[in-house]
Protein backbone atom coordinates (compact mmCIF):
# COMPACT_ATOMS: atom_id res chain seq x y z
CA UNK A 1 0.00 0.00 0.00
CA UNK A 2 1.45 3.24 -1.15
CA UNK A 3 -0.55 5.20 1.40
CA UNK A 4 1.52 3.80 4.26
CA UNK A 5 4.80 4.88 2.71
CA UNK A 6 3.27 8.25 1.91
CA UNK A 7 2.04 8.75 5.49
CA UNK A 8 5.50 7.97 6.83
CA UNK A 9 7.18 10.29 4.34
CA UNK A 10 4.70 13.11 4.79
CA UNK A 11 2.14 12.72 7.61
CA UNK A 12 0.01 15.45 6.04
CA UNK A 13 -0.99 12.97 3.34
CA UNK A 14 -3.03 11.14 6.00
CA UNK A 15 -5.06 14.25 6.86
CA UNK A 16 -8.63 13.86 5.78
CA UNK A 17 -8.60 10.06 5.59
CA UNK A 18 -12.04 8.64 6.27
CA UNK A 19 -12.72 5.84 8.75
CA UNK A 20 -12.14 3.20 6.10
CA UNK A 21 -8.87 4.80 5.07
CA UNK A 22 -7.58 4.89 8.64
CA UNK A 23 -8.61 1.31 9.34
CA UNK A 24 -6.70 0.16 6.26
CA UNK A 25 -3.67 2.28 7.06
CA UNK A 26 -3.51 0.88 10.59
CA UNK A 27 -3.83 -2.73 9.42
CA UNK A 28 -1.12 -2.26 6.77
CA UNK A 29 1.20 -0.52 9.24
CA UNK A 30 0.80 -3.38 11.72
CA UNK A 31 1.43 -5.96 9.01
CA UNK A 32 4.66 -4.20 7.99
CA UNK A 33 5.66 -3.69 11.65
CA UNK A 34 5.68 0.02 11.05
CA UNK A 35 2.82 1.00 13.37
CA UNK A 36 5.19 2.40 16.03
CA UNK A 37 7.13 4.45 13.49
CA UNK A 38 3.88 5.74 12.04
CA UNK A 39 2.54 6.58 15.51
CA UNK A 40 5.53 8.82 16.20
CA UNK A 41 5.30 10.43 12.78
CA UNK A 42 1.65 11.30 13.50
CA UNK A 43 2.29 12.53 17.04
CA UNK A 44 0.85 15.97 17.69
CA UNK A 45 -1.38 15.99 14.63
CA UNK A 46 -5.10 16.32 14.87
CA UNK A 47 -6.46 12.78 14.43
CA UNK A 48 -9.87 11.17 14.92
CA UNK A 49 -10.05 10.31 18.65
CA UNK A 50 -10.00 6.54 18.10
CA UNK A 51 -6.98 6.82 15.81
CA UNK A 52 -5.23 8.95 18.41
CA UNK A 53 -5.94 6.26 21.00
CA UNK A 54 -4.56 3.49 18.78
CA UNK A 55 -1.46 5.54 18.02
CA UNK A 56 -0.97 6.27 21.71
CA UNK A 57 -1.00 2.53 22.40
CA UNK A 58 1.47 1.97 19.58
CA UNK A 59 3.84 4.51 21.13
CA UNK A 60 3.49 2.79 24.50
CA UNK A 61 4.28 -0.56 22.87
CA UNK A 62 7.30 0.92 21.16
CA UNK A 63 8.57 2.26 24.49
CA UNK A 64 8.25 -1.23 25.90
CA UNK A 65 10.13 -2.82 22.98
CA UNK A 66 12.82 -0.25 23.43
CA UNK A 67 13.10 -0.90 27.15
CA UNK A 68 13.42 -4.66 26.81
CA UNK A 69 15.79 -4.39 23.84
CA UNK A 70 18.13 -2.11 25.76
CA UNK A 71 17.89 -4.34 28.80
CA UNK A 72 18.86 -7.42 26.77
CA UNK A 73 21.82 -5.48 25.41
CA UNK A 74 22.80 -4.50 28.94
CA UNK A 75 22.57 -8.09 30.15
CA UNK A 76 24.71 -9.24 27.21
CA UNK A 77 27.19 -6.50 28.09
CA UNK A 78 27.39 -7.74 31.67
CA UNK A 79 27.81 -11.33 30.52
CA UNK A 80 30.65 -10.50 28.14
CA UNK A 81 32.41 -7.62 29.78
CA UNK A 82 35.27 -9.63 31.29
CA UNK A 83 36.23 -11.04 27.90
CA UNK A 84 37.80 -7.97 26.35
CA UNK A 85 35.91 -8.67 23.14
CA UNK A 86 34.26 -5.92 21.09
CA UNK A 87 30.50 -6.44 21.17
CA UNK A 88 28.68 -4.63 18.36
CA UNK A 89 24.93 -4.08 18.62
CA UNK A 90 23.10 -4.50 15.34
CA UNK A 91 19.82 -3.36 13.80
CA UNK A 92 17.01 -2.04 16.02
CA UNK A 93 18.85 -2.33 19.30
CA UNK A 94 21.75 -0.34 17.88
CA UNK A 95 19.45 2.44 16.67
CA UNK A 96 17.77 2.60 20.08
CA UNK A 97 21.02 2.48 22.05
CA UNK A 98 22.56 5.22 19.93
CA UNK A 99 19.43 7.37 20.08
CA UNK A 100 19.13 7.49 16.29
CA UNK A 101 15.97 8.62 14.50
CA UNK A 102 15.74 5.16 12.96
CA UNK A 103 15.05 3.81 16.45
CA UNK A 104 12.03 6.03 17.11
CA UNK A 105 8.96 3.80 17.39
CA UNK A 106 10.72 0.87 15.78
CA UNK A 107 9.70 -2.64 16.69
CA UNK A 108 12.66 -4.60 18.00
CA UNK A 109 12.66 -8.36 18.27
CA UNK A 110 15.67 -10.50 19.05
CA UNK A 111 18.95 -9.06 20.20
CA UNK A 112 21.51 -9.12 17.39
CA UNK A 113 25.17 -8.69 18.23
CA UNK A 114 28.33 -9.15 16.22
CA UNK A 115 31.63 -10.31 17.67
CA UNK A 116 34.86 -11.33 15.96
CA UNK A 117 34.66 -14.87 14.64
CA UNK A 118 37.76 -15.87 16.58
CA UNK A 119 36.10 -14.74 19.82
CA UNK A 120 33.18 -17.18 19.48
CA UNK A 121 34.86 -19.88 21.58
CA UNK A 122 34.90 -17.47 24.53
CA UNK A 123 31.60 -15.72 23.86
CA UNK A 124 29.54 -18.87 23.67
CA UNK A 125 30.37 -20.28 27.12
CA UNK A 126 30.06 -16.82 28.69
CA UNK A 127 26.52 -16.51 27.39
CA UNK A 128 25.63 -20.03 28.50
CA UNK A 129 27.04 -19.22 31.92
CA UNK A 130 24.84 -16.13 32.12
CA UNK A 131 21.64 -18.07 31.52
CA UNK A 132 21.24 -18.29 27.76
CA UNK A 133 20.61 -21.76 26.42
CA UNK A 134 20.25 -23.39 23.03
CA UNK A 135 16.75 -23.00 21.75
CA UNK A 136 16.72 -26.73 21.36
CA UNK A 137 18.32 -29.16 23.78
CA UNK A 138 20.19 -30.93 21.01
CA UNK A 139 21.90 -28.52 18.62
CA UNK A 140 22.25 -31.10 15.86
CA UNK A 141 23.87 -30.22 12.60
CA UNK A 142 25.86 -27.76 14.61
CA UNK A 143 28.91 -28.13 12.43
CA UNK A 144 26.98 -27.12 9.35
CA UNK A 145 25.43 -24.16 11.10
CA UNK A 146 28.71 -22.93 12.48
CA UNK A 147 30.67 -23.46 9.31
CA UNK A 148 28.29 -21.86 6.88
CA UNK A 149 25.95 -19.54 8.67
CA UNK A 150 26.78 -16.04 9.78
CA UNK A 151 25.67 -16.61 13.32
CA UNK A 152 25.59 -19.15 16.12
CA UNK A 153 22.47 -21.28 16.39
CA UNK A 154 19.96 -19.10 18.24
CA UNK A 155 20.12 -18.91 22.02
CA UNK A 156 17.29 -18.04 24.34
CA UNK A 157 17.55 -16.76 27.88
CA UNK A 158 16.02 -19.26 30.24
CA UNK A 159 14.49 -16.67 32.55
CA UNK A 160 13.69 -13.79 30.24
CA UNK A 161 12.57 -15.84 27.21
CA UNK A 162 14.42 -13.53 24.85
CA UNK A 163 16.53 -14.68 21.93
CA UNK A 164 20.01 -13.55 21.06
CA UNK A 165 21.62 -13.95 17.64
CA UNK A 166 25.38 -13.86 17.78
CA UNK A 167 26.78 -12.94 14.38
CA UNK A 168 30.37 -13.01 13.31
CA UNK A 169 29.67 -11.48 9.93
CA UNK A 170 26.60 -9.93 8.42
CA UNK A 171 25.61 -12.46 5.77
CA UNK A 172 25.80 -16.25 5.59
CA UNK A 173 29.22 -17.37 4.45
CA UNK A 174 27.41 -19.10 1.62
CA UNK A 175 26.04 -15.86 0.20
CA UNK A 176 27.59 -14.57 -2.99
CA UNK A 177 28.44 -11.22 -1.50
CA UNK A 178 30.83 -11.38 1.42
CA UNK A 179 31.11 -8.06 3.22
CA UNK A 180 34.33 -7.50 5.14
CA UNK A 181 33.32 -8.28 8.72
CA UNK A 182 36.75 -7.49 10.15
CA UNK A 183 36.64 -4.02 8.62
CA UNK A 184 33.18 -3.46 10.07
CA UNK A 185 34.38 -4.42 13.54
CA UNK A 186 37.49 -2.27 13.17
CA UNK A 187 35.47 0.82 12.26
CA UNK A 188 32.79 0.25 14.90
CA UNK A 189 32.10 3.04 17.37
CA UNK A 190 32.01 2.71 21.16
CA UNK A 191 28.96 3.88 23.13
CA UNK A 192 29.41 5.31 26.64
CA UNK A 193 28.68 1.95 28.30
CA UNK A 194 31.33 0.12 26.25
CA UNK A 195 28.99 -1.62 23.83
CA UNK A 196 29.62 -0.70 20.22
CA UNK A 197 27.64 0.15 17.11
CA UNK A 198 28.67 0.03 13.47
CA UNK A 199 30.02 3.18 11.86
CA UNK A 200 27.29 5.20 10.11
CA UNK A 201 28.33 3.93 6.68
CA UNK A 202 28.47 0.29 7.74
CA UNK A 203 25.16 0.64 9.54
CA UNK A 204 23.51 1.67 6.29
CA UNK A 205 25.32 -1.04 4.35
CA UNK A 206 24.33 -3.71 6.82
CA UNK A 207 20.68 -2.81 6.28
CA UNK A 208 21.19 -2.73 2.54
CA UNK A 209 22.83 -6.15 2.55
CA UNK A 210 19.88 -7.60 4.40
CA UNK A 211 17.37 -5.93 2.17
CA UNK A 212 18.68 -7.54 -1.01
CA UNK A 213 21.11 -10.32 -0.35
CA UNK A 214 19.50 -12.21 2.47
CA UNK A 215 15.81 -12.25 1.85
CA UNK A 216 12.73 -12.18 -0.23
CA UNK A 217 12.15 -8.50 0.64
CA UNK A 218 9.56 -9.50 3.24
CA UNK A 219 9.67 -6.70 5.80
CA UNK A 220 11.48 -4.61 3.21
CA UNK A 221 9.33 -1.54 3.69
CA UNK A 222 10.46 -1.29 7.30
CA UNK A 223 14.06 -1.99 6.41
CA UNK A 224 13.95 0.75 3.80
CA UNK A 225 12.37 3.11 6.36
CA UNK A 226 15.42 2.45 8.58
CA UNK A 227 17.61 3.43 5.65
CA UNK A 228 15.59 6.57 5.03
CA UNK A 229 15.98 7.68 8.66
CA UNK A 230 19.71 6.84 8.73
CA UNK A 231 20.44 8.54 5.41
CA UNK A 232 18.57 11.70 6.38
CA UNK A 233 20.39 11.84 9.70
CA UNK A 234 23.90 11.02 8.45
CA UNK A 235 23.58 12.44 4.94
CA UNK A 236 23.45 16.07 6.02
CA UNK A 237 27.23 15.81 6.21
CA UNK A 238 28.54 15.78 2.61
CA UNK A 239 31.61 13.72 3.46
CA UNK A 240 29.32 10.89 4.62
CA UNK A 241 28.40 10.12 1.02
CA UNK A 242 32.02 9.92 -0.04
CA UNK A 243 32.79 7.46 2.72
CA UNK A 244 29.59 5.52 2.02
CA UNK A 245 30.49 5.01 -1.63
CA UNK A 246 34.01 3.87 -0.82
CA UNK A 247 32.80 1.58 1.93
CA UNK A 248 30.22 -0.03 -0.34
CA UNK A 249 32.98 -0.87 -2.81
CA UNK A 250 35.09 -2.38 -0.05
CA UNK A 251 32.24 -4.69 0.98
CA UNK A 252 31.20 -5.49 -2.58
CA UNK A 253 27.81 -3.91 -1.94
CA UNK A 254 27.97 -1.10 -4.51
CA UNK A 255 25.14 -2.39 -6.71
CA UNK A 256 22.93 -3.14 -3.73
CA UNK A 257 23.55 0.29 -2.25
CA UNK A 258 22.73 2.05 -5.50
CA UNK A 259 19.45 0.16 -5.76
CA UNK A 260 18.56 0.87 -2.11
CA UNK A 261 19.20 4.58 -2.58
CA UNK A 262 17.00 4.70 -5.66
CA UNK A 263 14.22 2.80 -3.89
CA UNK A 264 14.43 4.98 -0.78
CA UNK A 265 14.18 8.06 -2.99
CA UNK A 266 11.29 6.59 -4.94
CA UNK A 267 9.29 5.35 -1.95
CA UNK A 268 10.19 7.74 0.87
CA UNK A 269 11.56 10.73 -1.02
CA UNK A 270 14.92 10.28 0.70
CA UNK A 271 17.52 12.82 -0.43
CA UNK A 272 20.38 10.72 -1.80
CA UNK A 273 23.65 11.20 -3.65
CA UNK A 274 22.73 11.05 -7.33
CA UNK A 275 26.06 9.71 -8.46
CA UNK A 276 26.08 6.77 -6.04
CA UNK A 277 22.42 6.03 -6.71
CA UNK A 278 23.15 5.83 -10.43
CA UNK A 279 20.58 5.79 -13.19
CA UNK A 280 17.21 4.25 -12.52
CA UNK A 281 16.53 0.80 -13.94
CA UNK A 282 13.31 -0.70 -15.10
CA UNK A 283 13.63 -3.40 -12.44
CA UNK A 284 13.44 -0.69 -9.75
CA UNK A 285 9.74 -0.57 -10.49
CA UNK A 286 9.46 -4.29 -9.87
CA UNK A 287 11.24 -3.95 -6.51
CA UNK A 288 9.04 -1.03 -5.54
CA UNK A 289 5.96 -3.07 -6.41
CA UNK A 290 7.19 -5.85 -4.16
CA UNK A 291 7.86 -3.47 -1.28
CA UNK A 292 4.39 -1.98 -1.36
CA UNK A 293 2.51 -5.25 -1.94
CA UNK A 294 0.11 -4.92 0.99
CA UNK A 295 -3.61 -4.13 1.04
CA UNK A 296 -5.90 -2.43 3.53
CA UNK A 297 -6.59 -5.74 5.26
CA UNK A 298 -2.88 -6.24 5.94
CA UNK A 299 -2.68 -8.97 3.28
CA UNK A 300 0.14 -9.43 0.83
CA UNK A 301 -1.02 -8.62 -2.66
CA UNK A 302 0.67 -9.10 -6.01
CA UNK A 303 1.20 -12.80 -5.31
CA UNK A 304 3.26 -13.38 -8.40
CA UNK A 305 5.73 -10.62 -7.60
CA UNK A 306 6.01 -11.84 -4.02
CA UNK A 307 6.52 -15.42 -5.17
CA UNK A 308 9.19 -14.41 -7.65
CA UNK A 309 11.10 -12.73 -4.83
CA UNK A 310 10.72 -15.81 -2.67
CA UNK A 311 12.34 -17.99 -5.31
CA UNK A 312 15.01 -15.37 -5.81
CA UNK A 313 15.83 -15.42 -2.09
CA UNK A 314 16.45 -19.16 -2.14
CA UNK A 315 18.88 -19.27 -4.95
CA UNK A 316 20.68 -16.25 -3.57
CA UNK A 317 21.25 -17.88 -0.23
CA UNK A 318 23.24 -20.85 -1.41
CA UNK A 319 25.24 -21.17 -4.61
CA UNK A 320 24.28 -24.28 -6.66
CA UNK A 321 27.65 -25.93 -6.12
CA UNK A 322 27.38 -25.50 -2.37
CA UNK A 323 23.86 -26.84 -2.42
CA UNK A 324 25.05 -29.89 -4.34
CA UNK A 325 27.91 -30.52 -1.92
CA UNK A 326 25.60 -30.13 1.02
CA UNK A 327 23.19 -32.68 -0.37
CA UNK A 328 26.02 -35.05 -1.34
CA UNK A 329 27.35 -35.04 2.22
CA UNK A 330 23.89 -35.66 3.59
CA UNK A 331 23.42 -38.52 1.14
CA UNK A 332 26.70 -40.20 2.07
CA UNK A 333 25.87 -40.02 5.79
CA UNK A 334 22.58 -41.73 5.18
CA UNK A 335 22.21 -44.99 7.13
CA UNK A 336 22.60 -47.96 4.80
Amino acid sequence: MKRLADALRDPATADGLDAEGWTGLIAAARAEQLIGSLAFRLEGRSLPPRVERIMEEARTSAAQWRRSALWEAEMARRALRDLDVPVVLMKGTAYAAAGLDAGVGRSIGDLDIMVPREALPEVEPALLEAGWEWVKPDPYDDAYYRQWMHELPPLIHRERDRMIDVHHTILPLTARVTPDAAAMLAESVALPDGLRILSPEDMVLHGVAHLFADGDLAGGLRNLWDQDRLLRQFGADKSFWVRLGARADLHGLGTHLARALRLARRIYGTPVDRVIAGRGRLSDLWFARRLTARDGWGRETRKLTVFAFYVRSHWLRMPPLMLARHLWTKWRKRPA
Binding site: W22, I26, R50, I54, W297, R299
Partner: protein, 288 residues
Protein backbone atom coordinates in the same frame (compact mmCIF):
# COMPACT_ATOMS: atom_id res chain seq x y z
CA UNK B 1 -12.23 -9.24 1.64
CA UNK B 2 -15.46 -10.66 0.24
CA UNK B 3 -17.50 -10.69 3.46
CA UNK B 4 -17.23 -8.44 6.41
CA UNK B 5 -18.69 -7.72 9.84
CA UNK B 6 -17.78 -4.83 12.14
CA UNK B 7 -18.69 -4.69 15.79
CA UNK B 8 -17.73 -3.35 19.17
CA UNK B 9 -17.45 -5.53 22.28
CA UNK B 10 -17.13 -3.40 25.39
CA UNK B 11 -14.52 -0.73 24.58
CA UNK B 12 -12.87 -2.64 21.71
CA UNK B 13 -13.79 -2.42 18.02
CA UNK B 14 -13.22 -5.27 15.56
CA UNK B 15 -13.35 -5.62 11.81
CA UNK B 16 -13.77 -9.22 10.70
CA UNK B 17 -13.22 -10.15 7.09
CA UNK B 18 -13.90 -13.56 5.64
CA UNK B 19 -13.43 -15.35 2.35
CA UNK B 20 -16.68 -17.21 3.04
CA UNK B 21 -20.18 -15.99 3.75
CA UNK B 22 -21.17 -18.51 6.43
CA UNK B 23 -19.03 -17.33 9.37
CA UNK B 24 -20.07 -13.72 8.77
CA UNK B 25 -23.74 -14.68 8.59
CA UNK B 26 -23.42 -16.51 11.90
CA UNK B 27 -21.69 -13.51 13.51
CA UNK B 28 -24.38 -11.15 12.18
CA UNK B 29 -27.07 -13.35 13.66
CA UNK B 30 -25.56 -13.80 17.13
CA UNK B 31 -24.08 -10.32 17.46
CA UNK B 32 -27.17 -8.49 16.14
CA UNK B 33 -27.66 -5.19 17.89
CA UNK B 34 -24.03 -4.85 19.01
CA UNK B 35 -22.66 -1.35 18.35
CA UNK B 36 -20.15 -0.55 15.62
CA UNK B 37 -16.55 0.45 16.37
CA UNK B 38 -16.10 3.97 17.79
CA UNK B 39 -15.58 6.52 14.99
CA UNK B 40 -16.01 3.59 12.57
CA UNK B 41 -12.37 2.69 13.19
CA UNK B 42 -11.68 -0.82 14.40
CA UNK B 43 -8.96 -1.40 16.98
CA UNK B 44 -8.23 -4.79 15.48
CA UNK B 45 -8.68 -6.57 12.18
CA UNK B 46 -9.35 -10.32 11.98
CA UNK B 47 -9.12 -12.24 8.72
CA UNK B 48 -10.63 -15.64 8.06
CA UNK B 49 -9.01 -16.83 4.90
CA UNK B 50 -8.15 -20.03 3.07
CA UNK B 51 -4.79 -21.55 3.93
CA UNK B 52 -4.00 -21.55 0.25
CA UNK B 53 -6.02 -20.27 -2.63
CA UNK B 54 -7.63 -23.52 -3.72
CA UNK B 55 -8.59 -24.37 -0.15
CA UNK B 56 -11.39 -21.85 -0.45
CA UNK B 57 -13.37 -24.49 -2.30
CA UNK B 58 -11.73 -27.86 -1.76
CA UNK B 59 -12.05 -29.15 1.81
CA UNK B 60 -12.21 -25.53 2.92
CA UNK B 61 -10.17 -24.79 6.03
CA UNK B 62 -10.12 -21.47 7.79
CA UNK B 63 -6.79 -19.90 8.70
CA UNK B 64 -7.08 -17.37 11.53
CA UNK B 65 -5.06 -14.28 10.70
CA UNK B 66 -5.20 -10.59 11.39
CA UNK B 67 -3.20 -7.69 12.81
CA UNK B 68 -1.59 -10.13 15.21
CA UNK B 69 -0.99 -13.70 14.19
CA UNK B 70 0.41 -16.72 15.94
CA UNK B 71 2.76 -18.74 13.75
CA UNK B 72 1.82 -22.40 13.37
CA UNK B 73 -1.78 -21.79 14.39
CA UNK B 74 -3.93 -24.68 13.28
CA UNK B 75 -6.71 -23.89 10.78
CA UNK B 76 -10.28 -24.93 11.49
CA UNK B 77 -12.91 -26.60 9.35
CA UNK B 78 -15.25 -24.16 7.62
CA UNK B 79 -18.09 -25.64 9.66
CA UNK B 80 -16.30 -24.20 12.70
CA UNK B 81 -15.97 -20.74 11.12
CA UNK B 82 -17.82 -19.04 13.97
CA UNK B 83 -15.33 -20.47 16.43
CA UNK B 84 -12.52 -19.28 14.17
CA UNK B 85 -13.89 -15.74 14.29
CA UNK B 86 -14.12 -15.85 18.07
CA UNK B 87 -10.59 -17.24 18.35
CA UNK B 88 -9.37 -14.54 15.99
CA UNK B 89 -10.80 -11.79 18.19
CA UNK B 90 -9.37 -13.42 21.32
CA UNK B 91 -6.00 -13.65 19.66
CA UNK B 92 -5.95 -9.94 18.81
CA UNK B 93 -6.73 -9.15 22.42
CA UNK B 94 -4.17 -11.59 23.83
CA UNK B 95 -1.37 -10.38 21.59
CA UNK B 96 -2.26 -6.80 20.80
CA UNK B 97 -4.13 -5.19 23.67
CA UNK B 98 -2.04 -2.52 25.38
CA UNK B 99 -4.52 -0.14 27.00
CA UNK B 100 -6.14 -2.51 29.47
CA UNK B 101 -4.59 -5.16 31.65
CA UNK B 102 -6.21 -8.33 30.35
CA UNK B 103 -7.27 -10.85 32.93
CA UNK B 104 -8.24 -14.26 31.66
CA UNK B 105 -11.32 -14.18 33.86
CA UNK B 106 -15.08 -14.02 33.72
CA UNK B 107 -16.93 -11.18 35.41
CA UNK B 108 -20.41 -10.17 36.54
CA UNK B 109 -21.60 -6.91 38.06
CA UNK B 110 -24.12 -5.74 40.64
CA UNK B 111 -24.57 -2.19 42.00
CA UNK B 112 -21.56 -1.00 40.01
CA UNK B 113 -19.28 -3.58 41.60
CA UNK B 114 -17.66 -6.49 39.83
CA UNK B 115 -17.17 -10.11 40.83
CA UNK B 116 -14.17 -11.60 39.02
CA UNK B 117 -13.73 -15.33 38.53
CA UNK B 118 -10.58 -16.88 37.20
CA UNK B 119 -9.05 -20.32 37.04
CA UNK B 120 -7.72 -22.98 34.73
CA UNK B 121 -9.84 -24.06 31.82
CA UNK B 122 -12.52 -26.42 33.04
CA UNK B 123 -12.76 -24.62 36.37
CA UNK B 124 -16.19 -23.41 35.38
CA UNK B 125 -15.66 -19.66 35.33
CA UNK B 126 -17.48 -19.30 32.03
CA UNK B 127 -20.58 -21.25 33.04
CA UNK B 128 -20.72 -19.57 36.44
CA UNK B 129 -20.67 -16.11 34.90
CA UNK B 130 -23.30 -17.12 32.35
CA UNK B 131 -25.60 -18.51 35.06
CA UNK B 132 -25.15 -15.53 37.36
CA UNK B 133 -25.83 -13.35 34.33
CA UNK B 134 -29.31 -14.94 34.13
CA UNK B 135 -29.94 -14.64 37.86
CA UNK B 136 -29.84 -11.01 38.75
CA UNK B 137 -26.28 -10.04 37.85
CA UNK B 138 -25.07 -8.15 34.82
CA UNK B 139 -22.88 -10.43 32.67
CA UNK B 140 -19.61 -8.63 31.81
CA UNK B 141 -17.73 -11.36 30.02
CA UNK B 142 -16.76 -15.02 30.19
CA UNK B 143 -13.20 -14.91 28.85
CA UNK B 144 -11.42 -11.58 29.33
CA UNK B 145 -11.89 -8.86 31.92
CA UNK B 146 -10.22 -5.55 31.10
CA UNK B 147 -8.67 -3.62 33.98
CA UNK B 148 -8.00 0.03 33.19
CA UNK B 149 -4.75 1.05 34.90
CA UNK B 150 -5.75 4.71 34.70
CA UNK B 151 -8.91 4.29 36.81
CA UNK B 152 -8.73 0.86 38.46
CA UNK B 153 -12.10 0.10 36.88
CA UNK B 154 -13.02 -3.11 35.13
CA UNK B 155 -14.40 -2.89 31.59
CA UNK B 156 -16.81 -5.44 30.23
CA UNK B 157 -15.95 -7.64 27.24
CA UNK B 158 -19.26 -9.44 26.70
CA UNK B 159 -18.51 -11.52 23.63
CA UNK B 160 -20.54 -14.64 22.95
CA UNK B 161 -20.27 -17.13 25.79
CA UNK B 162 -18.34 -20.12 24.58
CA UNK B 163 -20.02 -23.13 26.17
CA UNK B 164 -18.12 -26.39 26.12
CA UNK B 165 -19.33 -29.97 26.45
CA UNK B 166 -21.49 -30.43 29.61
CA UNK B 167 -21.94 -26.69 30.09
CA UNK B 168 -24.06 -26.62 26.93
CA UNK B 169 -26.90 -28.61 28.46
CA UNK B 170 -26.70 -26.64 31.70
CA UNK B 171 -27.31 -23.39 29.85
CA UNK B 172 -29.88 -24.86 27.47
CA UNK B 173 -32.00 -25.49 30.57
CA UNK B 174 -31.62 -21.86 31.64
CA UNK B 175 -31.96 -19.78 28.47
CA UNK B 176 -34.36 -19.44 25.51
CA UNK B 177 -33.24 -21.34 22.40
CA UNK B 178 -33.08 -18.26 20.14
CA UNK B 179 -29.94 -17.02 21.91
CA UNK B 180 -27.86 -20.04 20.94
CA UNK B 181 -25.64 -20.51 17.95
CA UNK B 182 -25.27 -23.84 16.14
CA UNK B 183 -23.73 -26.74 18.01
CA UNK B 184 -20.16 -27.18 16.73
CA UNK B 185 -19.11 -30.80 17.14
CA UNK B 186 -15.59 -32.14 17.17
CA UNK B 187 -13.72 -28.84 17.42
CA UNK B 188 -10.18 -28.87 18.87
CA UNK B 189 -11.80 -27.92 22.18
CA UNK B 190 -14.56 -30.52 22.03
CA UNK B 191 -18.20 -29.63 21.43
CA UNK B 192 -18.92 -25.93 21.52
CA UNK B 193 -22.10 -23.92 21.42
CA UNK B 194 -22.10 -20.13 21.54
CA UNK B 195 -24.58 -18.22 23.64
CA UNK B 196 -25.56 -14.62 23.06
CA UNK B 197 -25.41 -12.51 26.26
CA UNK B 198 -28.82 -11.17 27.30
CA UNK B 199 -30.03 -7.75 26.20
CA UNK B 200 -29.27 -6.13 29.55
CA UNK B 201 -25.61 -7.20 29.30
CA UNK B 202 -25.36 -5.86 25.77
CA UNK B 203 -27.08 -2.58 26.60
CA UNK B 204 -24.72 -1.94 29.55
CA UNK B 205 -21.50 -3.09 27.86
CA UNK B 206 -19.94 0.38 27.97
CA UNK B 207 -20.37 0.77 31.73
CA UNK B 208 -17.29 -0.20 33.75
CA UNK B 209 -17.46 -1.49 37.33
CA UNK B 210 -15.26 -1.34 40.41
CA UNK B 211 -13.68 -4.76 41.18
CA UNK B 212 -14.98 -5.95 44.55
CA UNK B 213 -14.35 -9.68 44.94
CA UNK B 214 -12.13 -12.23 43.21
CA UNK B 215 -12.99 -15.93 43.20
CA UNK B 216 -10.81 -18.82 42.07
CA UNK B 217 -13.40 -21.54 41.46
CA UNK B 218 -12.58 -25.22 41.03
CA UNK B 219 -15.24 -27.59 39.76
CA UNK B 220 -15.69 -31.21 40.77
CA UNK B 221 -14.86 -31.12 44.49
CA UNK B 222 -16.85 -31.01 47.72
CA UNK B 223 -17.86 -27.46 48.63
CA UNK B 224 -14.98 -25.71 50.35
CA UNK B 225 -13.48 -22.27 50.50
CA UNK B 226 -10.30 -20.66 51.74
CA UNK B 227 -9.06 -17.12 51.75
CA UNK B 228 -6.11 -16.44 49.48
CA UNK B 229 -3.10 -14.36 50.43
CA UNK B 230 -2.07 -11.34 48.41
CA UNK B 231 1.11 -12.95 47.12
CA UNK B 232 -0.68 -16.02 45.81
CA UNK B 233 -3.38 -13.90 44.19
CA UNK B 234 -0.77 -11.67 42.58
CA UNK B 235 1.13 -14.57 41.03
CA UNK B 236 -2.01 -16.30 39.83
CA UNK B 237 -3.32 -13.13 38.23
CA UNK B 238 -0.03 -12.46 36.43
CA UNK B 239 -0.32 -15.98 35.06
CA UNK B 240 -3.92 -15.28 34.09
CA UNK B 241 -2.94 -12.13 32.21
CA UNK B 242 -1.84 -12.19 28.60
CA UNK B 243 -0.24 -8.75 28.74
CA UNK B 244 0.91 -8.10 32.30
CA UNK B 245 4.58 -8.03 31.35
CA UNK B 246 3.97 -6.05 28.16
CA UNK B 247 2.15 -3.31 30.05
CA UNK B 248 5.16 -2.54 32.24
CA UNK B 249 4.79 -0.11 35.11
CA UNK B 250 1.07 0.66 34.69
CA UNK B 251 0.38 -3.07 34.82
CA UNK B 252 2.41 -3.40 38.02
CA UNK B 253 0.54 -0.53 39.65
CA UNK B 254 -2.87 -1.73 38.53
CA UNK B 255 -2.41 -5.33 39.56
CA UNK B 256 -0.75 -4.42 42.85
CA UNK B 257 -3.64 -2.12 43.66
CA UNK B 258 -6.20 -4.76 42.73
CA UNK B 259 -4.54 -7.38 44.92
CA UNK B 260 -4.23 -5.00 47.87
CA UNK B 261 -7.75 -3.65 47.74
CA UNK B 262 -9.94 -6.59 46.70
CA UNK B 263 -10.50 -9.73 48.80
CA UNK B 264 -10.00 -13.11 47.15
CA UNK B 265 -11.28 -16.63 47.89
CA UNK B 266 -10.56 -20.02 46.41
CA UNK B 267 -13.74 -22.05 46.18
CA UNK B 268 -14.36 -25.71 45.37
CA UNK B 269 -17.80 -26.76 44.22
CA UNK B 270 -19.53 -30.00 43.20
CA UNK B 271 -22.23 -28.48 41.00
CA UNK B 272 -23.26 -25.13 39.58
CA UNK B 273 -26.11 -24.64 42.06
CA UNK B 274 -23.80 -24.75 45.07
CA UNK B 275 -21.33 -22.44 43.33
CA UNK B 276 -24.04 -19.84 42.82
CA UNK B 277 -25.06 -20.10 46.49
CA UNK B 278 -21.43 -19.76 47.59
CA UNK B 279 -20.78 -16.78 45.37
CA UNK B 280 -23.87 -15.01 46.72
CA UNK B 281 -22.87 -15.73 50.32
CA UNK B 282 -19.26 -14.60 49.87
CA UNK B 283 -20.50 -11.44 48.16
CA UNK B 284 -22.70 -10.66 51.20
CA UNK B 285 -19.94 -11.54 53.67
CA UNK B 286 -17.61 -9.13 51.92
CA UNK B 287 -20.16 -6.46 52.81
CA UNK B 288 -21.22 -5.96 49.22
Amino acid sequence: MRHRFDLRIGPVGFRIGSAWRAPIAALGQLYRGYPKPVDGIADFTVRLEPETRWRRFVRPSVAIRGDFTLPDAAPLALAHGLLAAEMGMNLQMALGQRRYLILHASAVERDGRALLMTGHSGAGKSTLAAILGERGWRFMGDEFALLDPATGLLHAFPRLVSLKNQAIAAMEAEVAPDRFGPRLSGTPKGDIRHLRPNDAAIAAMSAPARPALILFPRFGFESAERPMGESEVFVRLTQASTNYVALGEPGFDALGHLVKSVPARAIDYPDTGSAVTMAERLWREAGL
